[in-house]
Symmetry: C2
Subunit: 147 residues, 2 copies
DNA sequence: TCATATGTAATATATGGAGTTACATATATG
DNA sequence: CATATATGTAACTCCATATATTACATATGA
């Protein structure tokens, strides 16, 4: 399986949009994320559906952020992009006849569910505003370094 | 991505091997796991390398469990099958130039690492013996049901 | 009207586990 | 020693899915 980067990608883009004045086109966004305009539109569709962004067609169109970064958590973005599958490992058969396999599944599921719950909790605790603030720190630091 | 079932599969098989008297061939194991003998050999190679099982070629050959289930944790099996990638989601670029993406990566990595640490801890706490014991409970229960 | 955007379908690409075939090698058994 | 039976492994194919790309329909401001 290839890695699913939709959550990372959209967080990245939303912070850029917050920094921009005026709409950002799919083409501009694609350059920022080193990808393709269609990938942007496809993935942003989920964010538009939940009201985080708006898209406008035609001249002077593009994408606009509708909500403050303070109000958007990593978890919100995760949900908006369709709650991609979290784990690359898992059960071979979710409902096996073999009782041994059922016992194995129970242990695996228990471990995975606990890890998933912690991840979801972590995602819920961090807002995009906090990440943007971290960016500001990194930006200041990089300026200081270049003196 | 397709799901990686090597950990589940090998736990399943090791418990069956503990219940068997005498070696189990790759063909018999493949039937138990509803898969292919080559998949068995390929995946069991890692368990053999760390000394959990032994393989004997030729007549009356097959696979034998060398260690008690009490001494093998889920984590041991996870490591033996090559520590497969845990997450299906992740960073687009682990070392981006963009400072915004760096900040996003830092937050994603932090969340994923905490979840991974919990999962590893969970896997380390459960032995195959505990899972076998759970199987025994399920087996008793299924017998009781069929009365 | 036309240049510029998004919306979306269709297709190609890349990745990696799993499935399968083929064959080399090792080993009891007669 | 010949043979049936195992493992060991290389070399495929298959499959799922995110991503990349092309193509074209649709909408909109100048």
């Amino acid at each position: 399986m290839q890695l699913d980067g939709r959550l990372s990608r959209m967080m990245h883009l939303l912070i850029h949009m917050d920094r921009a004045n005026g709409p950002i086109t799919s083409g501009e966004a694609a350059e920022m994320l080193h990808t393709n305009p269609v990938v942007i539109r496809r993935t942003m569709a989920g964010l538009r559906d939940v009201g985080f962004v708006r898209s406008i067609k035609g001249h002077a169109g593009g994408w606009t952020l509708l909500k403050p970064l303070e109000s958007i958590s990593m978890l919100d973005v995760y949900k908006a992009v369709g709650q991609p599958r979290i784990f690359a490992i898992g059960l071979v058969d979710p409902a096996p006849d073999c009782l041994v396999e059922q016992a194995v599944n129970a242990s695996m599921t228990s471990a995975l569910e606990k890890a998933e719950a912690l991840l979801i909790a972590q995602l819920g605790e961090v807002t995009l505003a906090a990440i943007a603030k971290d960016f500001d720190r990194r930006f200041s630091a990089s300026c200081a370094n270049s003196l």
